[in-house]
């Protein structure tokens, strides 16, 4: 697999607190990588490290297969970014704001019209940004990140503070980028639903540590259903099944079956019936992705 971003044991401390710890981030080319984690997990810090806005304490960062610390400028020419709240100069118009960045990139003037068009701000291009709504500022920030036609686009919580229609608009825009412009996208969020709807790859970070990293399909697989049984005597049934080598876990007022193949379930139920247990309920519970995510981050907390 070809990785656009690859970090090894990336670590950043603030004082004695680890904001990012031993992070191995791998972003495959052409993917929309959803960087998911609760607030304070270390997403922004990681992104700042990727852009060279901060120096890591230990670990290495490779972007486009080049070391960030030694080839930062060359790498940043091909990277677009929006970190945390959008930055802007309020006393300048949207166009003037973009012009200050375009000049440095050396992009053609036409590009300003293009990116304003992409984020639908063409109408207000000559208005001062001071008067923009948060959503408009956010879109201007995205426009700015697209100025140099980047190969890697890094967006830190880009839908923060947007209204629902704004969120959908940004989402649709980001979805188009890999296929239409060949970009690889890193998008961070603390909302699973956000990542679920947009990402093709996922990394889950909690307390500075990567606790899951794979394709979104793999993450969905983790959210499998489970079968729970409710019987007249759960306790006895649990002992009985355990003695027969069936893996079950007692839960509140029922038993949860770990094995879930159809044959296995049929087998377990037959045994229970034949041994005169009364079965009140056999239920299939689907864990939502949200539960999976919550559980992942909870487990981390418990450690």
């Amino acid at each position: 697999m070809e990785y656009v971003v690859e970090t090894k044991k990336l670590t950043k401390k603030f004082g004695i607190e680890y904001a990012v710890a031993d992070l191995d981030l791998k972003i495959p080319k052409g993917e929309i990588y959803g960087f998911l984690g609760p607030n304070g997990a270390g997403k922004t810090t990681t992104i700042r490290l990727l852009l060279g806005l901060m120096r890591q304490n230990t670990g290495t960062i490779k972007i486009f297969n080049k070391d960030l610390n030694s080839t930062r400028l060359e790498i940043l020419k091909k990277v677009g970014s929006l970190v945390e709240n959008p930055s802007y100069y309020g006393h300048l118009t949207a166009r003037e704001n973009l012009e200050t960045l375009r000049k440095i990139h050396g992009a053609p003037k036409q590009r300003i019209d293009d990116v304003l068009d992409i984020v639908r701000l063409s109408d207000v291009g000559n208005k001062k940004v001071k008067g923009f709504s948060l959503g408009m500022k956010q879109r201007l920030g995205i426009a700015a990140s697209l100025l140099n036609n980047p190969e890697l686009l890094i967006l830190d919580e880009p839908t923060n503070g947007l209204d629902p229609s704004g969120i959908i608009e940004i989402r649709n825009l980001i979805k188009r980028l890999p296929s239409e412009y060949g970009m690889t996208v890193l998008i961070s969020s603390h909302l699973l639903s956000e990542i679920d709807q947009i990402a093709t790859s996922v990394g889950v970070i909690s307390k500075g540590k990567m606790i899951f990293q794979d394709s979104i399909e793999e993450m969905r697989m983790l959210s499998q259903q489970k079968i729970s049984l409710k019987l007249d005597d759960n306790e006895k049934a649990w002992r009985f099944l355990s003695s027969k080598g069936v893996k079950v876990e007692p839960e509140n007022d029922c038993l949860a079956l770990v094995e879930q193949s159809d044959q296995e379930i049929a087998h377990v139920i037959r045994m229970l019936v034949e041994n005169n247990f009364s079965i009140y309920r056999v239920e299939e519970e689907k864990r939502s992705l949200e539960d999976t995510f919550l559980q992942m981050t909870m487990e981390e907390k418990a450690v």
Binding site: L51, L53, M54, V83, P86, L92, K103
Partner: protein
């Protein structure tokens, strides 16, 4: 790259009244002499000091004050433009080195201050000609008394830019800046080693060039220290 950055610095200063300020500083300094000479012309004549020599020195009495005030305002303006909306991170995520960003800010400030000094030369000259002193126009003297204080103020410029760029808010640099303005106003009473005294061109040896030389050397030193500290820090 640096010239492009300087161009963007000037773009960012649009609508901030920076040009008006650049004009106001030297104009104010000369305007004070308009009042002075308007009220006391006869007294100067009676004292035998109605001459170019004394006029140029009278003008320069307020130059350090205006210069330091201008430096404090400009550096804080320039830093707050970036820190208000945390725009530093956007600038630094561009393919530019941190030191070139710092140099661009410094260069822009020096350019603005040099323009202010040029205006000071022009205003001093114009009002001097209007007053109609006898003798030749001391062009070199006028230029010296406009630019020497600026060179002697480079350490203050370096210090204020350093503080303004690394501070989270502009409270500290402005407080120190205002203190500096007051000190520069009391230059006569300050010991020679204090950088706020230097723009007055006053020293124990009565040789302005000492202040100019010190200004250049120490100014360069503080500039480099400020830049290295700025590079070393994480971007806000």
């Amino acid at each position: 790259m640096i010239s492009k950055l300087v161009q963007t610095e000037f773009m960012k200063l649009r609508r901030k009244g920076i040009w008006f300020l650049t004009f106001l500083g030297p104009f104010g300094v000369v305007a004070l002499q308009m009042v002075n000479y308007g009220l006391r012309k006869d007294w100067f004549i009676s004292q035998g000091t109605y001459e170019w020599f004394y006029y140029v020195r009278n003008v320069s009495a307020f130059t350090p004050f205006a210069l330091i005030l201008g430096i404090v305002i400009l550096t804080s303006f320039m830093a707050s433009i970036e820190s208000e909306t945390k725009a530093w991170k956007q600038v630094m995520a561009l393919p530019v080195t941190k030191w070139s960003v710092y140099i661009a800010k410094y260069t822009t400030l020096v350019a603005l201050l040099m323009i202010a000094c040029l205006l000071l030369v022009i205003f001093t000259l114009c009002f001097g000609l209007y007053l109609g002193f006898d003798g030749n126009v001391p062009y070199l003297d006028i230029i010296k008394y406009s630019y020497y204080p600026f060179i002697a103020a480079l350490p203050v410029l370096g210090l204020q830019l350093w503080l303004a760029t690394v501070s989270q808010n502009q409270g500290l640099p402005i407080t120190l800046g205002v203190l500096g303005v007051i000190l520069s106003y009391m230059a006569y009473f300050l010991p020679d080693w204090m950088i706020w005294k230097w723009p007055s061109l006053d020293n124990a040896w009565d040789e302005p060039l000492v202040n100019v030389g010190l200004g250049l050397a120490v100014g360069l030193g503080i500039y480099l220290i400020g830049m290295i500290d700025f590079i070393r820090r994480d971007v806000k």
